[in-house]
């Protein structure tokens, strides 16, 4: 199809969808409205179960099943990326050259690394109390590890990042989440029911029943998934080469 025809189609389709969306926007309740029935129920349910951060209660208790689906997406995407970025038949690995890193960069990276790592862990741990949680903390912690690549070199990173271990962590975290769900079923209530543990004192680290446990599982899953994803791409960018002449 020619470029021109495509632009015409795009113009027609875009105009149609734009008209539809604008008409819909005009019918939407005004921005900042007060009517949020499901939201109010969710806040009440969260407080009843002693979870200070309503978002955490939604993600790990009320709509915990969505989160199971979501970490499965993460799990599946990591698996998919590892399969897609494997060494093909006509490729081999080349040892990367140790790179010279400017001293200020190295200093900055090596100081920032532990700070970022701790921040990540702190954010995970306080998921049910303050903004943050397994997702955010997991990404921060995993990205922090890669400051090592910036500060030292690729081989240093490879040493602190045994991929086999992260593979297992990735699978374990998903299983842990699902098994916690099964525990609810076995205890006679329902899948992913938050009735196993006492709800604890409001606004403490152990409050919220199984919320902190599920949160930790998600943190572990996200962290290992991000490490594995970045590892797949780094491998491609740094190590894997095509055979000459192919």
């Amino acid at each position: 199809m020619s470029q021109r025809l495509r632009l015409w189609l795009l113009a027609v389709g875009g105009a149609g969808v734009a008209a539809l969306l604008v008409a819909a926007c005009l019918d939407l309740p005004a921005f900042g409205g007060r009517r949020h029935p499901y939201g109010e129920r969710a806040v009440a349910a969260s407080l009843a179960r002693h979870t200070a951060n309503t978002i955490a209660s939604l993600n790990f208790d009320q709509r915990a099943y969505d989160t199971l689906g979501e970490i499965s997406i993460l799990f599946a995407a990591v698996l998919g990326c590892l399969v897609l970025l494997r060494e093909a038949r006509d490729e081999h690995r080349a040892q990367p050259q140790p790179a010279e890193v400017a001293l200020p960069v190295r200093r900055y990276a090596l100081i920032a690394l532990p700070v970022a790592l701790l921040t990540g862990l702190y954010v995970i741990a306080h998921g049910q109390l303050s903004p943050g949680g397994g997702f955010q903390g997991g990404v921060v912690a995993a990205t922090a590890l890669h400051l090592l690549y910036l500060g030292a070199d690729y081989r240093a990173l490879e040493r602190v990042r045994p991929l086999g271990v992260f593979d297992v962590c990735d699978a374990l975290a998903v299983s842990a989440y699902a098994v916690l769900g099964l525990a609810g079923l076995l205890a006679g209530t329902a899948f992913l029911a938050n009735t196993l543990l006492p709800y604890g004192t409001f606004n403490t680290l152990s409050s919220g029943g199984t919320v902190p446990l599920l949160n930790a599982a998600v943190g572990m899953e996200v962290a290992s998934a991000v490490v594995l994803l970045l590892a797949g791409f780094l491998d491609q960018a740094v190590e894997i080469e095509e055979e000459r002449g192919s």
């Binding site: 795009l10 939407l28 949020h36 499901y38 939201g39 990591v78 897609l84 109390l129 997702f135 994803l229």
Partner: protein, 115 residues
């Protein structure tokens, strides 16, 4: 102000679609898809906003003392963001393989699947 956030979401979505349709580089295509997706975040959070309300976190807020914004859409957006990152990663992995096997990233030059 009543409809501006929704209109911005619609605009971002369509802009992303324009980028997808006219892209000349598949890595750019994947980036445009990420733009499309960010429109859904804007729409969802705009739907949940409430004038004069605060975040639904009660660690230093007495329950019931102030109205809070809708937490549901925030939970949905959180899920959505993680989904977006994984889709981006997976598509980029495919793009890398296309670059290897076809030697080009210009969709106009990929001529294997036609008719």
């Amino acid at each position: 102000m009543h409809v501006l956030p929704y209109l911005v979401a619609a605009y971002v979505f369509l802009t992303g679609c324009y980028g997808l349709a006219t892209s000349r580089n598949l890595i750019h295509t994947v980036g445009c898809l990420a733009v499309c997706q960010s429109s859904t975040y804007v729409l969802l959070l705009a739907v949940g906003y409430r004038d004069g309300a605060t975040a639904p976190v009660f660690s230093d807020l007495a329950p019931g003392s102030r109205p809070v914004v809708d937490p549901i859409v925030q939970a949905l957006t959180l899920t959505d963001i993680v989904v977006g990152a994984t889709v981006t990663a997976l598509l980029l992995a495919l793009v890398l393989q296309i670059a290897k096997r076809h030697g080009t990233l210009d969709p106009d030059e990929l001529r294997e699947l036609r008719g």
